[in-house]
Symmetry: none
Subunit: 206 residues, 4 copies
């Protein structure tokens, strides 16, 4: 039987020191997950790696799941950040070029954490709260939707912009993430990013 899935963080850290502890714990969790996989990561091992006691760990996170969820959320946020910092490109470049840059940035980020995606992400991503995941891809999707409006003239006729923006984001995320296992070489070389960008561009443009 699964333990209860309380995945909310237990307390908002209000002090500098406590914030540190939370970050230290998330870092340690990530490191242990990367080394041992989800199944092999134990809370005691994580606490030891973080250099805090197991009691302290449970002071900040009510369950192991919450801890892992924290890492997942942080990862999602970083993925979103990677895309968000390229948002302005959609106003500055032709759509194809902006899409290519966004895909390249996303794939580069995945490549920079490739072991993480390979070892435990698929095993543990379901612990991330669905809502936060939707928020994250929703943010990215509305960003893309804005970009598409901006380039409306060049879009293929009949395109459902709202759906397409979302679909394109989820496709990019899905392929970049699974690419860590399925296409490591192409992920590193940039080919995956470029083919992905090509596919998305042709899907969107006239």
């Amino acid at each position: 039987m699964p333990r209860r899935a309380r995945t909310h963080q237990r307390r908002q850290p209000v002090q500098r020191r406590a914030e540190d502890t939370v970050a230290v714990l998330l870092d340690a969790t990530e490191r242990v997950l990367e080394a041992q996989g989800f199944h092999g990561a134990t809370t005691n091992h994580i606490a030891r790696t973080a250099g805090v006691s197991i009691g302290t760990l449970y002071h900040y996170f009510p369950t192991k799941e919450a801890l892992v969820a924290g890492v997942v959320h942080r990862l999602w946020a970083a993925e979103l950040e990677t895309l968000a910092t390229r948002a302005h490109l959609f106003a500055e470049l032709p759509l194809e070029d902006a899409i290519r840059e966004a895909c390249r940035a996303l794939c580069a980020y995945v490549w920079s954490r490739v072991d993480l995606y390979r070892t435990w992400y698929s095993e543990a991503s379901h612990l991330g709260e669905l809502g936060k995941g939707l928020d994250m891809s929703g943010h990215a999707a509305s960003m893309v939707a804005g970009a598409l409006e901006h380039h409306a003239a060049r879009l293929r006729p009949g395109l459902d912009v709202t759906f397409a923006a979302d679909f394109v984001v989820k496709t990019a995320l899905a392929l970049a993430r699974t690419g860590a296992r399925d296409y490591p070489a192409e992920l590193e070389s940039g080919k995956l990013a470029d083919e992905l960008a090509l596919m998305l561009s042709r899907y969107l443009l006239a």
Copy 2:
């Protein structure tokens, strides 16, 4: 620490009865996984559900992982089968139509097992042997590659057929599978299949 990951089946069933037992065990495993998720599924529960003793379960599968791997492999085989039975369409129909039929069939299959994809597939798919997964998508990819040669005249110039065939298969699999969570409505309605088909067609054709 993770238990050992022996995922090979323990004995080749040589008698009619034994083959039944293996199938019964895989069926039961699937049912229990669907109801409880990977973490919540216990071998004792699976054995009880299958109507065999726990000893018999371990007679055929050396570990829980091997049992789940068996279910994953069977699922992969069914996905492949779904595509393989549509292979002839690529010789009979325009490429767009054949692709659409293939995507529809794949999405329909995923929809028919949607709970399974939603509850445990992402959590447990890594237990499937990578080799078998590559075999499976490789088969499908070479099928697609053949189809592309057949329609060579209409392909977009500069297309790397070998890569594209593989890429297209993996994209379809990734989106159909994650669609169970991300787009249940569109998976059911067929919209996901059609948008996917459109994206793939535009990626491939001139």
Copy 3:
């Protein structure tokens, strides 16, 4: 909890074939015990090694304990046989020489099965029926007692012949058996046998 300790053989084999089966099973048991130790020896492995089915094994021996007891008894019988075939020496040679020959023969026998004594004998000897063990050492002791009467004139005054005969036999058995672990080199070279013989002779003689 220990299983019941039924250690009697289940049926007296009356046919040639069945006798063979019993011997084959005891041989296989010995081989498996030697290779895996008592804890690691399973009845299924023993049956497979013997080339018979597990059902057949249980046809002849009611429990694993009975099987191991059979091997222990056979070993005791062989030890006794080793001594018994030297009994005549006590009538032919000076006592010291007869004792030395007996000790050498016993140690040589132990050396010839040294792996067996090293791997499982101590772990499993308690499964041999105490009665049979006493019979065996009792036989040897009465043999020795007879020898001592024959050499009565040379014995040390005050010697309790009955006790001494038994004591000497048990000492020889204990040291030869534990010598497999404690003195492998001296067991092989014969030094253990000679020192043992010297100790026993000086204990007995004036």
Copy 4:
């Protein structure tokens, strides 16, 4: 297949309380072994007897084998202690008398734990680390060797002192231990000790 034979203690107790726990666990193990034998002793039963949780048991000992090894080592240490506290007698008394006292003390110790030697010692002593056993008998042997040097003038010519000291110790241990089964009456009455002492003295002295 035997479980792994990790027989090292898992953590050095650093606090008063923890030392107690280890001792409590060893005591409980001894009691359960005495009542049920090695095969019948379960870790859960031992933990319950000790009044600690099963988790605590595994906090200090990684396996059942390690726990039993701990008891064996403690027993060996007590045997050695029994001899060591008599070491001074070898300087104060004639050798025969010192030997007799040592044998009596050893046999008395065995008698004081006779059930233990009878029920599980032979079944489980192989779990003690060979090295610790050699250390223990080596200590005793060098003690005896010192004593023999001290009485060199009275030793029989040609005696190999180094070997003899070791041989004498191992003989005494083997006979006292097996005496629990073979000679309970003589063990209790002291006859076994005296005959053993006589045998060893005659082996050593001129």
